[in-house]
């Protein structure tokens, strides 16, 4: 099932993925559990907020991006996890019914010095709505296993 290794991630555009819909029910359920601010839960309060209408939690949007990346390529990548996120910007609100598209670019790919059997792939992901408006942009490294022959060749 895991078919993608470090060597498959070259700097450049990795792909455009989606669309994935986000429903009002999903927005309300995530907000109720993790981010119960009125702008994510209550139409009336949301209409008076800076975002002018019900919007999804930024952490919900992050989690949906994670799922879109899983479905697109992480699920078949020899991924060992991620140390963090360099930078993330919430640019526009996630709205009920949005159909999201994800663009992923590999900005850097290098072999790990501390674990030579692995590489660090830095991804820039931008998620947009159906109108093409970017909602969120993030830059995050993931740790990916190298192909065994490549890793042992390097070690020898």
């Amino acid at each position: 099932m895991t078919s993608l290794a470090f060597e498959d991630f070259k700097p450049g555009h990795l792909g455009r993925f989606g669309p994935r819909g986000v429903t009002r029910e999903e927005i309300l359920a995530f907000a109720a559990e993790f981010d119960p601010q009125p702008m994510h839960l209550d139409e009336e309060a949301a209409s008076r907020s800076m975002l002018k209408g019900l919007s999804g939690s930024g952490w919900h949007l992050c989690s949906v991006i994670m799922r879109m990346m899983f479905d697109a390529f992480i699920g078949r990548t020899a991924s060992l996890g991620s140390p963090g996120v360099n930078e993330l910007r919430w640019l526009a609100p996630l709205r009920p019914g949005d159909e999201l598209t994800l663009d992923v670019e590999v900005t850097e790919a290098r072999v790990s010095r501390s674990r030579p059997a692995t590489g660090i792939v830095t991804l820039k992901a931008v998620v947009s709505n159906a109108a093409g408006q970017a909602l969120c942009e993030m830059v995050s490294p993931i740790i990916v296993r190298r192909r065994e022959d490549a890793a042992s060749g390097q070690a020898g």
């Binding site: 981010d35 800076m50 994670m66 799922r67 360099n86 910007r89 919430w90």
Partner: protein, 160 residues
């Protein structure tokens, strides 16, 4: 919540704790991050994490949950004192998020938030921009999570 003028660099708030159960970890992962080490104990043991590990986005979301609860607590306290309650704006984002150590099933993470920088907004003078370092520490006192988050905070005297 507090106004910009009521906040100082270095102020720290203890946000409370969140326990990551095996069921909670798997439920979040099944929906948002179904990598094997977030879904299955045995796969977790075989991974770099050494056990069933919470998705990093689950850890960040738990921190957000406690930040919101702390904000509500502050708002109630301000209202009880008869003070005007500040309504914070949406966050433009964060930097330097680090999943420092795995959060494993059964771990209890204590979260705290410390103000790291403050400035006024030149384009929106009724708002201040605050950066806070939100951190998570497990029951053994080991740091597991850190993020430098940005927030828009209303200024007390610019609302008129």
């Amino acid at each position: 919540m507090r106004f910009f003028e009521d906040i100082e660099v270095g102020q720290r708030r203890e946000l409370g704790s969140f326990t990551f159960t095996a069921d909670g970890i798997k439920k979040f992962a099944a929906q948002f991050d179904p990598q094997p080490f977030h879904l299955d104990e045995e796969e977790g043991r075989k991974s770099l994490f050494g056990g069933l590990a919470a998705s990093g986005w689950h850890v960040g979301s738990a921190c957000m949950k406690l930040l919101v609860a702390d904000g509500l607590r502050q708002a109630r306290e301000a209202a009880a004192r008869g003070e005007k309650v500040a309504v914070w704006g949406p966050s433009p984002g964060f930097r330097e998020l680090r999943w420092i150590r795995p959060v494993l099933a059964g771990d209890t993470v204590h979260f705290a938030s410390e103000v790291e920088s403050m400035r006024t907004s030149s384009s929106r003078p009724e708002w201040g921009i605050l950066e806070a370092r939100n951190t998570g520490t497990n029951q053994r006192g080991e740091p597991v999570f850190s993020v430098l988050a940005t927030a828009f905070v209303p200024r007390r005297n610019r609302n008129a």
